[in-house]
Homo-oligomer: 673 residues x 3
């Protein structure tokens, strides 16, 4: 449990009563209790109210809120307010603010706007985090610390440049090592001293998020930026730890590219994240995000820190969540390992840019709204569940390898195709397992793979030191590894591994990739099957990139149908030790990936708990003894589910289900057998 003071699924969300008055707080509490809210995130963005001068703090208003909530049975997730330094502080210390990639210093405004290397920022955030911890460490109503808010982006100022040089010195020791890692002989960029190095930005080497002259330099700056923000986080944790051992977290944002959350995870007691899918997001895309977040702490339950009860405000088109969808998506989070269901926000702002973002309590101020009623019904249901799901975990035999640094590197690449998006390729493979009800862990390179029967690593472009050896050991021991085009090409400095692609994976895969062709949009090739031992269609379309492959031991399962590499292998499988290593040399249509996932699972004896009709999602959570089967209907109509002869107890509706049963649109079962 995150904090055993509150041994149930935490239900609540961000709350800013300081935007209103005490009467409103009283009214709100009446409503929040009706909705079975038991936690409120307090204090996000409240720095200007908390600290009015260098050493002058005003906590009384916060005391009142936390006390009042606690008196009414609502616990506090206490946020440090450091995502926005106060206006007076910024005016006094302009170095607190960021500079953009064109060298233009920001002025006061926005949020997540502080320079992460600013000494003043570090000093002031340490101070306020410590003050909060000191004052509230003993408060019975406080459950945990929520550090800052949605860390984001980077800064390109002169002090960051100096810090970047120091970071490089610490990492490489000598300028020669930098020159080698960055291959600076190319274009004559050799540095004589660290002082000559500048940040790669729109004024120097990197003119967009996907375009840089020196991939390795830009990668190092991304690492530096991500670590700088993490250092801000750690700085606050350190201040808190002087007074409190409460769990600490910060709210992450799913597959947010600029920050390496695998690094952040190491400093977080519990992962929490904000789930804001667009109106056209698929259930599988949302599921992937949950699994990605769960994977950061190797399967430990996480917090759904924010979701909207209904409407967002910053999407191009902010559709309402249809009736039932908020409940469905809340259970989807739990189904994927969340132990909390929390909203942004409990009461809607009346001014500024989020006034059209949904809330539990709307502008109208009363409970007679569709949204409030749905929130209250879910609250009641969750309250009934008590502690029974807490700390149960998913058990996955399939892992998908994900790596932020690899993501950065792939998308910094100049060539072969601008349409190659790492996230998208990962999602295609994830979808294939998800739609068949096979649970997947998202795994990071530094984690242990040994528990998985299958490890899928699409576009594993960058192989960090030691990873190839660990993958070989994994396969040798009998497991299945699968990777794709654009894998094994570079080391951690984005330097090509010489001797033929895919570099260190050549013997594992039993192939040599001679070259790769980029297909413009609309152009496809086809893959022709030569494998009669598994279940395939005769042909599948493929596109994007086409590797020209020579086998050096691998079996050829598919070949190209067209072009000058007609009859060359496109899908291969190599026996390696007791396991198999698969290679897919192009980007196939979804039908292939489904069949591939089915074949791989069949060979490993991995089966879904249920057969899964379209629109249905299933997962299982278990404490080792009791297993809970989640069945979610994302479809727009009722779907018949075949539960077979087993008899289940639906712990939501408290009823027994078995055989062929209809599950209503947007409805959910949590079944205990």
């Amino acid at each position: 449990m995150i904090n055993d003071k509150l041994p149930v699924i935490w239900y609540g969300g961000d709350y800013n009563p300081e935007q209103f008055d005490l009467l409103t707080l009283q009214d709100d509490i009446v409503m929040l209790k009706k909705a079975h809210i038991n936690i409120a995130t307090i204090g996000v963005f409240s720095w200007a109210l908390l600290q009015v001068d260098e050493d002058k703090f005003t906590f009384s208003w916060l005391d009142t809120i936390i006390d009042t909530l606690y008196e009414n049975g609502i616990y506090t997730c206490l946020a440090t307010p450091t995502a926005v330094p106060p206006a007076w502080m910024v005016k006094r210390y302009p170095d607190l603010l960021r500079t953009d990639p064109m060298g233009i210093r920001k002025k006061f405004g926005g949020r997540a706007n502080a320079c992460p290397t600013s000494e003043n920022y570090r000093r002031f955030t340490y101070q306020i985090a410590g003050q909060l911890a000191k004052r509230y460490a003993q408060h019975p109503g406080v459950l945990m610390f929520h550090i800052s808010n949605e860390y984001a982006d980077a800064c390109y100022c002169d002090q960051c440049e100096i810090a970047f040089r120091q970071w490089l010195k610490d990492k490489y020791q000598t300028i020669e090592a930098v020159n080698h890692a960055w291959n600076t002989t190319f274009w004559g960029h050799t540095f004589q001293t660290f002082d000559e190095i500048v940040i790669p930005d729109a004024r120097s080497e990197q003119w967009s998020d996907r375009a840089t002259n020196f991939q390795s330099m830009s990668l190092d700056f991304k690492r530096f930026s991500s670590e700088s923000l993490f250092a801000c986080y750690q700085n606050e944790v350190k201040a808190i730890r002087e007074f409190s051992n409460f769990p600490v977290t910060t709210n992450l944002m799913g597959a947010y590219k600029p920050l390496d959350y695998a690094v952040f995870a190491k400093g977080m007691d519990v992962i929490s994240w904000d789930n804001y899918p667009s109106h056209h997001a698929t259930p599988s895309e949302i599921a992937f995000s949950h699994d990605l977040m769960r994977g950061l702490k190797a399967g430990k339950p996480f917090m759904l820190m924010e979701q909207t009860p209904s409407q967002q405000n910053w999407q191009p088109y902010n559709a309402l969540k249809r009736p039932g969808v908020m409940r469905l998506w809340s259970y989807q989070a739990i189904a994927h390992g969340a132990d909390t269901v929390m909203f942004f926000q409990l009461r809607r702002s009346v001014g500024a840019c989020e006034k059209f973002h949904g809330a539990v309590i709307d502008h109208v101020g009363h409970e007679n709204t569709r949204v409030f009623q749905e929130v209250a019904i879910l609250g009641e249901e969750l309250a009934r569940l008590g502690s029974q799901l807490l700390d149960t975990r998913l058990t996955c035999r399939v892992g998908i390898l994900f790596d932020w640094e690899n993501w950065w590197a792939v998308e910094f690449s100049s060539g072969p195709s601008q349409d190659l998006w790492y996230r998208q390729e990962i999602q295609k493979y994830y979808d294939a397992f998800h739609q068949q009800g096979i649970a997947v862990d998202i795994v990071f390179p530094y984690q242990d793979f040994s528990e998985y029967a299958i490890l899928v690593a699409p576009v594993l472009y960058m192989l960090k030191p030691g990873l190839a050896a660990r993958l070989k050991e994994f396969v040798r021991a009998g497991s299945t590894f699968m990777t794709t085009f654009m894998s094994g090409l570079v080391d951690e400095h984005d330097r090509i591994v010489p001797g033929g692609y895919p570099g260190e994976l050549r013997d594992l895969l039993g192939i040599w990739v001679e070259e790769f062709d980029a297909l413009p949009p609309g152009v496809t090739n086809r893959m022709v099957c030569h494998d009669d031992q598994r279940t395939w269609q005769e042909r599948y379309a493929c596109s994007l990139l086409c590797d020209v492959i020579h086998t050096t031991g691998a079996d050829v399962l598919f070949t190209y149908e067209r072009d000058f590499y007609k009859n060359y292998p496109v899908v291969t499988r190599n026996r390696y030790g007791d396991g198999n290593a698969w290679y897919v040399g192009s980007s196939p249509e979804p039908a292939f990936l489904s069949d591939l996932a089915a074949n791989l699972c069949r060979e490993k004896g991995i089966v879904s708990a249920l057969s899964v009709p379209e629109g249905i999602e299933i997962t299982q959570r278990t404490d080792g003894k009791i297993t809970y089967l989640f069945v979610l209907n994302h479809a727009d109509s009722a779907v018949q589910i075949d539960l077979g002869s087993a008899v289940y107890q639906d712990i939501l509706k408290m009823q027994t289900v078995t055989g062929k049963v209809m599950l209503a649109s947007k409805d959910v079962w949590v079944l205990r057998s």
Copy 2:
């Protein structure tokens, strides 16, 4: 009359003989007289020639031009040249120039490029305007002053920031009032002093014309910018008034978003504007612009200050005006209340960016061009009209409410849909009346509505203080009010009016809007009719936004056909006092709006002077005794008009028309009964 020295329709345009030589001036005058030109706008952009040092002026060339024109029967509309400070002045006083939203100071170049709060700019413009007034106040050939040219845009420099703070101090008195108005507790943006406030721009809060973190702050900066430019205008008027009581104007640009022309109108003796429709503009769009401009002075005749005789140069595709179109559009201006027909320009430049903009006298330099011939024929025709149309007015029983601040506020909104454009929604309702021959006044919130039978206020998002009460009084007295989705939501600070949407209009409309759904492009719902007392189709499509409405007294006229709000009201009508208040909760297809307009007019006994076939536009101008009926054929072929049994005199062709008569393509009648 604007100036009774010239008691006819003014016919002429911008003229820059200083770009040529005296011989050219002589040649031009011969041609201009052939074209019956009686007015020339002189001096726009001539500052560098007029003032060659701090206190050194050279008026002789201007004397020659004005004298020569006057000797030839051509009057002068005298422009102050302040839209472009001379290069020498800018070099000496760089603060004259603007700074962009990224903080980059402009260099010499362009036009409308001066910082509106620059003390030097104010000082120099006061000086030159005064000098001109002093010298030409008694000139018999000068009719009026044209202040500067097409005021536009904003400045983001440090001196504007200081001025903005002072403006806020004047408006709000205390920093607490600012914090409340802007809801700065949100995101912890509370200010302790005015000095902490920065301009909302790309470095701080507002990253595009439609995106800001603090709507209220951005609104205030828009008000400040608009007022700063108006102050520049007023500053020149003040200088002129020391010497002259000539009428003053500045050339506006129709529905130009950055400037609140309702404010400008208060300082203008006569409205003048520049009509540059794109090649795909509809007649109704042009008509709307004329009516918008006329509305600024509550119906008083206005000046068509600029239009091109044929081609523009800055559009993506600069099509020629087809034969007859220049004449047709000139009469359209008159039909909507203009008492002048003026061109940009009388002679074409030979260099720089407007050399491919059309002119009365083309580069070829002689009169044997299609364009010159059309101009000359129109000139002769207008000359024949004499003074008979002057000072006649349109009489409208339908008003459409328009408000620049509302426009800014709606489009600063973050959510619900990026496809909501205020101008477009207004135009849809305007079109519905226009196509049926119903004259419409564009009305501003501060004006008196009592003369209208129907007031239409699409997307009346922001209700300024007192407006709700005045609207209620309007309806209570028996009139019809109509509004739409996204109305009544906020006060003048863009703060939500609590207690349920549409805020202060709830009792007037008899509804409560619980929530609003945003439909992505391509998605529609349908509205099903439940009203058997009026003439409707059974169903109409609607899109963009769908309000979820509860009635609290209103009649339900239409309900949604689909989605979870199926059967919820979408169009309602509420009886209020002796009048009716209509609400349209979505954005319907044009067919609905036509039927709505027809129904509303029928109930109020408003009828068109003629039945109006497609492509035909009609209006009426009257002096209370004589009424002139304008009939314009915008279609590409002749159209039959049924004039009934009335007998009219066409004062253009001096012929009698009655019964069913063909009106040629692009032809015009001005009929006197």
Copy 3:
């Protein structure tokens, strides 16, 4: 011959062994010899290695490379490394770097990044070029100097502004002359002194590459920028000439808009260029680029300095060159006048942005790749050719006029259509001749036209002084001239030539263009034939722009089918002296241009050497005695060629061909009769 030390077709390319080690150099040489490589471009971007302090040079590594190559029969094209100043130098002299159009100074990074007016840049480049020339002038292995690399773009810094003012003083002498040339009376931009002039950039007059307020000012700045970079080139040539008379060149980039290569050509001993077509480039587009480059030195053989053996890296989609295409395109270069076939690059980088750009020696490091094999086979074939093609030339009777300044001027124009692209209109006319096997010279205004039977000048917007007279003389003497809409409009200052379009060409063409209409995308008109003396279809589509034309002596060959200018001329021909002058007043479909080219050639007795089926390209090179006929099959299948009764020797396959013979897809003949 470029340098008679190596009297064969030079075969090789860019080589950067300094990115690797000496062992790699040894391995490479073994492979390069297998591929018959005889030249390597050495030293591009090597400044940081060559010069480590103000006066400290390290040549030993370069000695080793040049010596080793020479010992192995590989000559050196020695590059000056000045495209990238070393990091230490930039840190010490920040004025070396450029400033962008927003005034933001660049930081160290990229390439072609130096401010062209920087005194320090001039001083240091003079120094290093001199040092290299001094050291290697006597080296038997060095063939020539390759100055810097791909000169590009412009700088907008304060020192460039001062230099620009000086350039203007030198050109115009007085500020009055500048004011007149730029027509600064427009918008009141009159300058009193040169010091008031600023660079036209995003802060002043020019807000994009196609948008400026003052075309003439922007043109002058383009001239200045182009000349500044040329001055950098000349500065290095001067340093070299103190020690060496080796031929000098710099690698151009085909139809690269920012630089006037006609100016550069005057300082180059031999033209060299880098051929990087996109994957959708047509053979005719590539052919045009070769002809454009050849034209710069009036037909003298040029160098293909760079092409990729297979893949590029910076295109959106980097397709592989299909088997045979590298060879086909190499011969296409030779067929159009190249005497070298050179690659970027001989060995692939392992890091930074070009690591996915193709190379002779790939990352795999061995010769068993498709690409290496194709390179080796071509090497062997070229070696067999010996010197027989060297210095032979194409003989063209058709010229197409091309002018960089005209290109700039046309696309700076504000109006009439944003879809008018000079390069595209030129290409359409080029295609018409190319597809019929008619060789075309690209001709520049300063060159002699007298040898041509036909001169085609599409969109000859700007007529430089004297050009009209020379064109008239050309036609008067019996030749055919052809031009289009948007011709003859302005002088070299972009000032309209008064008196009617097309200005000075009116009497030559026998027409007056009254006005021109811009057609939006998707809108077309049609041209109706009235000429029964030539071979035409009855009608052809036309679009983009439609001139409204009056003939004043010319014959009307085609008229418009539609719109108010229906029946007005669109294609005319005027008898002038002993020749004819054609005018095409719109942008016709390709079918018309084919027929036009055929008709013009027929009248002049110009015939293709062969009839040319689709996909086949032919050219001829001759030394006046022997003629070599190149036949290239760009199609994806074999094509039958009818050689007639002539008997040819194919000097590639050393076989005799005659009559109807199949030429394989992507195959090439070089036929000697």
